[in-house]
Amino acid sequence: MTLTRRKFNLLGGATALSLGLSASAPALLARARPKAVVIGGGAGGATAARYIAKDSGGAIQVTLIEPTRRYYTCFFSNLYLGGFRSFQSLGHGYETLATRYGVNIVHDWATAIDRDRREVILGSGVRLAYDRLIVAPGIELQFDSVPGYSLTAASLMPHAWKSGTQAQLLKARVHAMKAGGTFVMIPPPAPYRCPPGPYERVSMIAHLFKRQNPDAKIIVLDPKPGFSKQALFMEGWEKHYPGMIEWIPPDVHGGVTRVDPESMTIETDLDSFNADAACIIPAQKAGAIARTAGLTDASGWCPVEPATMQSRLDENIHVIGDASIAAAMPKSAFAANSQAKSAAMAVRKALIGARAYPARYVNTCWSLIAPDDGVKVGARYRPGAGRFEVMSKFISKPGETQAMRRQTYQESLAWYASITKDIFG
């Protein structure tokens, strides 16, 4: 089937028409539809596939490449950790994208992109031709950014910064921690996926300890001098978990010099910490396929045109989500979903001449500090000259009423239901 398609591609749609195949070969003509291929079935990629398919009414052939058959969202995995969600509730399948929207789901790894021939090379060896490619690979963890940390060490000190079993592993280790033990968290340096995520995670672990292990301590060895929603988290930690969490900025600990997963020790310039459980979130960069395809710059992330999310290094490729450089937009599922719609529109315009409107971007990040104590931060953006411009923004305020915080949490639950439907159909 692949050979047939490739052979046909060589002819091109216009040639096929001039050969007079139109009346006798509708099946062949169907294959002449322009091809959009999406690498990565997360918040960005699956949204892009769905919107291209939905809004082109079958005029574009859409293929989504995603190795996992069931996708477990990273967003809301902290709520699973805190006991507010089941693991199953984080899982989503691709059936609706296939059956309702006609997206061809290919469960395989994209191992390379032949940009000259416009083909994606899969782990199986198959070459998949595209007219436009959307690259949404998420992040790759830089294990060696924390001396002593490694992929292997992640079994003893989970990062849990990619969805799935790492979150389960971390939860098991938190639950198994000895009474009065010490949990150490090392958040990542910027830029990274989900800016408030490490601090929501600290909150959720503190929530568990408060109920099950009230003498436990949490030490946060941060490589950054400040963090997202800091005033809100600090206020919440003081209110709900007094004396439990110690956040130590880099000018105090002087930097993490080594972690030893076997002895569970973490050394800094200041001191050596013995952890009974730990979460190490290393530095990050764009998913590996983006780098091997030459779509990253010296920063390790992918420069894009804000109006279309097109790669600055290849006009036939759009990079969306965490892998893209979209500052001031944070690396979040909401942002990826928003960018996907802009990219989908640009792809439809390029491939079938669909009408395009100016791109609009929006983001909101909710975090849960304690039961019914939700906070949020958000903004609206527009594409500017080479950058994303903040049009307006908002953030929860310290000292808000309990009713307001409860409402914010309830809103986040409704958002999860909506965005996962918007992503996966």
Binding site: Y51, D55, F334, N337, S338, K341, M345, R355, Y357, R360, V362, T364, K376, G378, A379, R380, M391, S392, K393, F394, I395, Q407, Q410, E411, L413, A414, W415, A417, S418, I419, K421, D422
Partner: protein, 85 residues
Amino acid sequence: MRALGEYLSGECLTCHQTSGDNPAIPAISGWDPWLFEVAMEAYRTRERDHAAMQTIAQGLSRKEVQALALYFASLAPPEAESHAQ
């Protein structure tokens, strides 16, 4: 107008479902267009309190709000859709 409304609706649908019911973020499908416009105007002028909705409303022109109002009015309200299924 419908194409504009459909495009702009992408921004709404990240949070507002076209089916199902969740009072924390209500469904907006099948609304009377006039009601839709009044609600958005109240957010734009900050007479109605919700930081995220105020931010969204202030980013939309009158014409864009009308396009959205017409588009969502054309969709079946959630109850009708769930009966159909």
